[in-house]
């Protein structure tokens, strides 16, 4: 069984599975139960300065989108940082660390933008035994209107300065949690690094309105007869988060900055993807809000089995293996050719590939009724552009696959092709549509 332990900026964690700063890490009792279930670490729900910034939440707080019966494919919240007293939280942090010395407790923090406020709270949580702190520069609602959270994360200079203050006060590692509500995540990550951050956590939630109650016309979550934009998370945001993680991992300036990846993680496969794109630890919230701490059992076993199947003895061997496989479009091989192929023995004659290709792609699938009145389909090979769409809509496992075709074509990127001395010919493309006048 592969070793799942990791070290992130000097902190040993029994596994890469952490809980994100959110409702599942609201209390000591919860964090203790999570550690019992197998979570390696937890980022405590954000603490603030209750004297300066008292917290009261609204009723209700969460809303979600369901996709064809899949509940909570995306989750949205307008909950604030902890509404429990700092004193109580500090006592519980100390107690959890006393009982679980081998598990990682990172404490998320958010206070007003002055050095003294940060110094004060950092000293208190270090005193309580925090293994690290995470600066919440990402919360997109409620706190940002008060000049905190995303209001900091969206301005690189603020991110840099406040990270600097925290580093000046802290003796434990400082994580900076980044907001995705920006145009280029690399700018935020560079600012955090310039401020001295030991690691970055991303992504925080995305500004969102999940939907509207079609009877009352009030967007969700409903608060009286109004709503407010919230922070979006869950499976739906994973592709956005993966891209941001990968771009920081590939950026020459931040490539050595450890990453704690966050966004839509629910299974060991999600975890493996985040690690392949450069994360050292990962953080989970929505999946636990949906199914409870027990989901870590599948993550632990699944990731371990996967590593075994790849002949890896440690999860560290997996880290970053996909980072260099993400490149600019201009560097892709434009002479790489794949064509769809349909396994007629597996085809159930639903016609979905036909209509998807016909109306939604490149008209490269033919159809007719068979003698026994089934919808037969076939690939029109010379029209197929290898786009994958048919294989994506096909409901049958491995019925439509993409086959690589070798015609002796030369490997050639767009940059090569448009350069002064192209290495070869462009492989001919299918022609579509009716040409006027022909």
């Amino acid at each position: 069984m592969a070793d799942l332990s990791v070290n992130i900026c000097g902190i040993e964690s029994p596994n890469p599975f952490w809980l994100a700063s959110a409702p599942p890490t609201n209390t000591g009792d919860q964090v203790a139960r999570a550690f019992d279930a197998g979570w390696g670490g937890a980022v405590w729900k954000t603490l603030g300065d209750e004297a300066e910034n008292p917290i009261e939440n609204v009723y209700s707080r969460y809303s979600s989108i369901d996709i064809n019966g899949q509940r909570m494919a995306g989750l949205n919240n307008i909950e604030l940082i902890t509404d429990r007293s700092l004193e109580l939280n500090l006592i519980e942090i100390a107690e959890v660390k006393r009982r679980y010395p081998d598990n990682v407790v990172v404490v998320s923090l958010m206070v007003d933008s002055n050095a003294d406020a940060w110094d004060s709270i950092i000293k208190q949580v270090e005193q309580a035994g925090a293994d690290a702190i995470e600066l919440n520069f990402g919360c997109p609602h409620g706190m940002s209107e008060r000049g905190m959270g995303a209001a900091v994360g969206q301005v690189p200079e603020y991110t840099c300065d406040i990270t600097g203050w925290a580093k000046a006060s802290a003796t434990v590692p400082v994580f900076v949690k980044l907001t995705p509500n920006i145009t280029d995540i690399r700018v935020a990550a560079r600012a955090a690094k310039n401020g001295g951050a030991d690691a970055v956590s991303l992504i925080n939630t995305i500004n969102s309105i999940t939907g509207v109650d079609l009877d009352s016309f009030t967007p969700r979550p409903v608060v009286g007869n109004q709503s407010s934009h919230g922070g979006y998370c869950g499976p739906a945001v994973k592709p956005i988060a993966l891209n941001m993680v990968a771009s920081i991992a590939a950026d020459p300036f931040t490539q050595d900055l450890p990453i704690s990846g966050i966004g839509g993680i629910a299974t060991w496969e999600d975890v493996a993807e985040y690690i392949l794109l450069g994360s050292t630890t990962i953080q989970v919230c929505t999946a636990v809000m949906h199914h409870g701490y027990r989901i870590v059992e599948d993550m632990t076993e699944g990731l371990s089995n996967y590593l075994d199947s790849k002949g890896m003895s440690s999860v560290n061997e997996l880290r970053g293996l996909s980072v260099n496989k993400v490149t600019d479009w201009q560097s892709l091989d434009i002479n790489y050719v794949v064509k769809a192929t349909i396994d007629q023995d597996k085809c159930i004659h639903c016609g979905l590939c036909y209509i998807a290709c016909q109306d939604g792609a490149h008209q490269a699938i033919g159809t007719k009724r068979s003698d026994d009145d089934k919808t037969d389909v076939w690939i029109i090979d010379d029209l197929c552009v290898g786009c994958n769409l048919c294989s994506l809509v096909c409901p049958v496992q491995d019925c439509i696959t993409m086959e690589e075709r070798e015609f002796g074509q030369t490997h050639m990127s767009w940059n090569d092709f448009t350069g002064e001395d192209p290495p070869g010919e462009l492989f001919p493309r299918p022609k579509h549509g009716i040409t006027i006048g022909e």
Partner: protein, 442 residues
């Protein structure tokens, strides 16, 4: 029809959503192709998934106005669900029938006005019989703006849907609610009105611009065996009609039903489900020769019905009332010329102690009524001959349903009635004389 009708719920909203999401929304969907009324099945299921139940019901009822009863009585296993591509994915097919009931019940039972009725055309059409064919034809014509009068001999409309479908398949209230829904289009129902008795054929033909005959079939004729007049020897259709009127208690009875078709299966399954002591299906041939659907046979077996194959009734014994059914064993013999004949095995007589015997050996044609319509022709089997548009030999008369095809599904009758209505409409608008090629539409 004044009592409040409530649907027998077939599916909860949660069940319906889960099932709707399973539908792949096939292109050129085989379920739709398998439906005699071409209901856009993926279309109505999609609307269930999006919460648009009114749109779902409209999609169904626009194609098949008896969508609520077809949802319950259609042999979906051999039609839409049988064609579902999920069968090839080694999954359960979509439960199209139950979804269809879910989508239509609120609208049909609630009398939700889904369809606009066209401005009056001034034409009047008489529809004889308020079974599925007649109702379908009447609804379509009324929507097109024609003045429609339905004549029916029974107290309530619906024909076999009301009187002849076993309760375990469909409750009576669905049939009545559908008729009531159609009445909402302005159709005038004349119940307890028999043509030839209460209204003359001549008045029918002269009083209307066109006439549709949807009289179905008649009673199950006597077998002609000894003891058939004993108390407890009944027509299986009468048994079902009595059940639907709530007049039957068969607990403790030992019942034999003679026949191998859908009526026989309905009768035995219903009897078993109602707590009869023993229920036998007595059929002169083997399982493979039965006309009943395999899924219905399975249901009868699982309901506790005992099948007695290769047996033909010889007589019924009893003193005033049925006491036993006496049968001969039967077998197939092949003649020298290769013809296979069914014969009684001599000396094989045996008796089954029973308290009731039902005949379900096929309904007779309504020959005397049909022969009273001038110009209307039938084939040797008594089925009305019609052209491709369901027009009979009488230029003013169309026909459809069981009286044309000899007895098929409700959904086939609905398709006939609708097609005839569309041709009647075309004809009345253009004074078209129509095709004169007539044939059987069995």
């Amino acid at each position: 029809m004044n009592i409040a009708l409530t649907p027998v719920v077939t599916m909860t909203p949660d069940e319906a959503l889960v099932e709707a999401y399973r539908c792949l929304m096939c292109w050129d969907a085989p379920c739709t192709r398998a439906c005699p009324t071409s209901i856009d099945v993926p279309g109505f299921i999609k609307r269930i998934g999006t919460g648009d139940l009114v749109g779902s019901a409209r999609t169904i009822l626009d194609a098949n106005i008896l969508g609520a009863s077809c949802a319950r009585v259609c042999p979906t296993e051999v039609l839409c669900a049988g064609a579902c591509v999920l069968n090839d994915l080694h999954e359960r097919p979509i439960e199209i029938g139950r979804l269809q009931a879910f989508a239509t019940d609120d609208v049909v039972f609630g009398g939700v006005p889904l369809f606009d009725v066209a401005p009056p055309t001034g034409s009047t059409i008489g529809v004889v019989g308020s079974g599925p064919a007649g109702l379908s034809c009447a609804a379509e014509l009324a929507r097109l703006g024609h003045d429609v009068t339905v004549y029916d001999a029974h107290g309530d409309p619906g024909g076999l849907n009301t009187y002849g479908v076993a309760n375990y398949k469909m409750d009576r209230s669905t049939a009545l609610a559908e008729a009531s829904f159609i009445k909402g289009f302005g159709v005038d129902f004349r119940q307890n009105t028999m043509i030839g008795r209460d209204v003359s054929v001549d008045d029918l033909l002269t009083g209307h611009d066109a006439v549709f005959i949807g009289v179905g079939l008649g009673a199950v004729p006597p077998l002609g065996i000894e003891g058939e007049d004993l108390d407890g020897f009944v027509d299986a259709l009468d048994f079902i009609a009595d059940l639907r009127a709530g007049q039957v208690d068969i607990s403790g009875q030992r019942i034999a039903v003679i026949g191998g078709g859908n009526t026989a299966i309905d009768a035995v399954t219903q009897a078993a489900k109602l707590g009869a002591d023993r229920v036998y299906l007595v059929y002169r041939r083997g399982r493979d020769e039965m006309k009943a659907y395999p899924h219905d046979i399975e249901r009868a077996l699982s309901s506790g019905v005992e099948f007695i194959h290769w047996s033909a009734p010889r007589r019924v014994d009893g003193n005033g009332a049925v006491e036993s059914l006496v049968c001969d064993r039967t077998e197939h013999v092949t003649d020298d010329d290769g013809t296979v004949r069914l014969v009684a095995v001599s000396g094989s007589e045996y008796s089954i102690p029973v308290t009731m015997v039902m005949r379900a050996t096929g309904q007779e044609k309504r020959r005397s009524f049909l022969s009273s319509i001038p110009g209307l022709a039938t084939d040797d089997g008594g089925r009305v001959l019609v052209n491709d548009d369901f027009r009979t030999g009488n230029n003013k008369v169309w026909a459809g349903g069981d009286c044309v095809n000899g007895g098929k599904e409700v959904v086939n009758a609905v398709a006939h009635g609708k097609a005839a209505a569309l041709d009647i409409d075309r004809t009345l608008r253009s004074d078209d004389q129509g095709s004169t090629t007539h044939g059987s539409r069995g």
